[in-house]
Symmetry: D2
Subunit: 283 residues, 4 copies
């Protein structure tokens, strides 16, 4: 029923390719086989790329290094757009001073520090400084003690009327080949929302601001139209829904969250339809 | 506790003012008193305005006429940005042919017809043409029989794997001075989503694309920065949340959905904080 | 994988059989073929039965007549337990006087009238009598104008702090052989809950009170143990979940909402596991 | 507006009093002042009591000891009905063999062990024994590492199609006098439900089975009618909603989760109305 396309045939119609990272370029095993050739082909044919990722666990430079370490030297950190960058932009425009409390690794705090604000992990917030906390940002599911710090986060939001930002809307991420998953910070955020009765401000796909931010980066240098761009992703409700909504054509690859054996039933049950389906992003 | 500002003092710091429509410029009683003076002041001082509205029940021209009929001749239809325009843009980019089925008034179908596609009300969809339906758009809560056509909509979405778009995310709107409300099409959409297990693509505030669309209109003509713009609205979870998230300063006015006696408790309970609060948008 | 049992082999191990109605005993086409033989067998072998149904659209006597009219004379109205009876019991215990407003057919008002209270359809509630409304009951999706009366219901609940009861928790029900459905009053109730921010008191499967009510009817006459009873239903999240939770063994039949081709994936995805699966309830 | 009653005047009309525990009889500070007198009065006047609690963190005997240690010797463990007892009853009836995995303290495993099944904490489930896990029970928010064991729980439910039971539906509980709270296991359960897409079987108030279980204990010894019983609780959506739905009269006390300054607005916003309101359960 579902037509499976060759990735090369799909991307040759477009000038710019947006890639999701996990499940598309890499997995817990390293690079997806054949990805280096894809980047060589794109360079040879003058196609532009951006990596549009909900991973706010480290800075674009650090993210680029992880590709370099796996042997994919073609990745330029200036072409990595992370949801953490949207959180930073929000803080730049809307928070003038005070402390920004966060859940995440020390590396993830990069995005807050770049905005010139004081970043403190939630575990360092107490009666002596809670009144100076002017925003809360959830960046990553690691780097803190879940029991103590999730409970602390709930109490900060009960006590302070401040914006709460979540830079990764994913609920889970894969952690091994045997179909094991781990809860992502987006899943924690939803629990906290239900408990305190306040909504987080969500950045990251499928939110349009991720796509707009990347689209604007291109437009600053040259004219571009949305139908010259294609979004490549492995997840229907973030990559494909977000790309579709922003008006882009989309490719679903079957090398990550969505598997060949149930791709058809998932498309039917969600109503989220990619323009193309490919086995993976190799060529 | 809560400081109430004068609207004139607030807007004089900004170059561009985005207004929500219902509860800010007009109510079920007609124009909010003093609004004509606000528009005269803005024209005299060279401030630019846009009306950013979730009302997709009619075209910008028809919406402008309703202001003219109430005596506010200053309103230019080119400055009205309706969520229906985002739905149209989506259809332009993502739907090539076939029928677009809709719930709403005949006037609301304007947005579909402008995209060059065939608009048919849900009541005209049956076994003979359901296979040609390539998108479904929910535009307004009037213009159809709720029992027959909401049930028909559910069955279309069970039978067809197509994008479903909702151009008005509001749940309710006020219908009289005695605190009576009516369910908006956004409330109907949520019920249909729960029943068929598929998510609608939502345009309209608080979604960022409404703000981006308007922001781009300005940028096409001249440079502008987000901190030169202020969003004026009467509803925390659409106008203020959306404006805040997009990085704009925001004014909450107390002439519509949010009332003076509970503004403070609503801000605390939702965590959505406007930059300013004013009694209304008169000066 | 999934073992399919013969219904006769299953029920011969139990003394009492609880049947769901729609999809088990009857469909929009009439009686499920072979059901008359099942009731003859049960009478011959001295097994007791109850029909435990979320259908509050009419009284047990009227419900029994619909079986008699289809030729199943064995059905005794005293063995039909409808969720409306739970609503009646609630009104008996908790509402002393005043008006009970309702959405549903005139027949469904039977349950309110039996409690000795004044039943008025929502359309007859206005400024002159709204202060006497002491409870609201949603009984059926027919018998009222959806647009006017659902909006009226929302406004009654915004104005009056009263218990709101929903006697049918189903979201949809089938209306034809071509897989068409209709929204049930349970789906309407969920929409109203989201809009007014208040929870309905829910009776009907999977709620335990339905099972307890029936169980108590038996215990009034003789001792019985839960493992002598089996619940037969066609819907995982009402019949099977409710029966399991109450501690009964359960049979899922494939003659209604759950179809043979996806029974296995539905059980896995919901985690609701019946004790047995049978093609239907015929023997 | 709201009438505040004296507790003695309220309970003298009833023969049996159901008490919630936390916020009614005790707080993080110890016994609520005056509670010993209440139990003395009840004994003198021949009123029967039951403590109906969502606390499944330890056995009724251990729960009774905590009262004895605080000086309230009147509490008999046979009169403590915990939601863990409902979980045990479910396991007795529906799970025949294998392992029951649990989240909670070692004390909370009491309820599983009483059913004769093998209780293992989630941290002891691995590839070698996951196939023998036939049920999962969430009992308490302590006794495990949140990060490792909540993630393990998610993976167990993705791999095994088994009933998942939650014995405490509360989202939070108070931990100090300065309005600090801690997330209860019910909040964790909702997060897991959203992530794995499966529903837990919920015991504990407001579920009717808690009330039915207690009601049946009385009926085994003597006849009783629902209007001879009153439920005393500090939480609208568990104690009062559950009591109301079961058909009991209810008292809301203001010594726990619901505070005097917002009791009226909470009743209006939730629509959950107690029969009486008292400052606390002292007399």
């Amino acid at each position: 029923m579902t037509t499976i396309h060759e990735f090369r045939n799909v991307i040759e119609k477009y000038k710019v390719v947006f890639f999701d990272a996990f499940g598309v370029l890499k997995s817990y095993n390293g690079l997806i086989p054949g990805i280096a050739e894809t980047f060589a082909y794109m360079e040879a044919t003058g196609k532009e790329y951006f990596i549009v990722t909900n991973d706010a666990s480290r800075s674009p430079k650090q993210l680029a290094e992880t590709y370099h370490n796996m042997g994919l030297l073609a990745i330029d950190h200036e072409r990595i757009i992370s949801s953490g960058m949207l959180a930073k932009e929000y803080l730049d425009l809307k928070v003038n001073d005070g402390i920004v409390a966060y859940l995440g690794t020390e590396n993830s705090a990069h995005y807050i520090e770049r905005s010139g604000l004081q970043a403190l992990p939630v575990r360092e917030i107490g009666p002596h400084n809670i009144d100076q906390v002017n925003a809360l940002v959830l960046l990553d599911d690691e780097g803190f003690d879940w029991f103590t710090d999730i409970n602390r986060t709930v109490n900060i939001l009960r006590q302070r009327t401040i914006p709460a930002i979540i830079a990764n809307t994913d609920n889970i991420y894969p952690v091994s080949g045997s179909n094991q998953v781990s809860i992502a910070i987006g899943g924690i955020a939803t629990m906290i929302e239900n408990i305190v009765g306040k909504r987080f401000i969500r950045f990251g796909k499928p939110d349009s601001q991720m796509f707009m931010f990347t689209y604007d980066l291109i437009r600053e240098r040259r004219p571009i139209s949305k139908n010259e761009i294609i979004m490549v992703g492995d997840t229907l409700h973030t990559d494909i829904l977000g790309g579709n909504k922003f008006g882009l054509d989309t490719v679903l690859v079957l090398s990550g969250n969505t598997l060949a054996h149930d791709v058809e039933s998932r498309i039917i049950s969600t109503g989220i339809v990619p323009t193309y389906i490919c086995p993976d992003a190799s060529i």
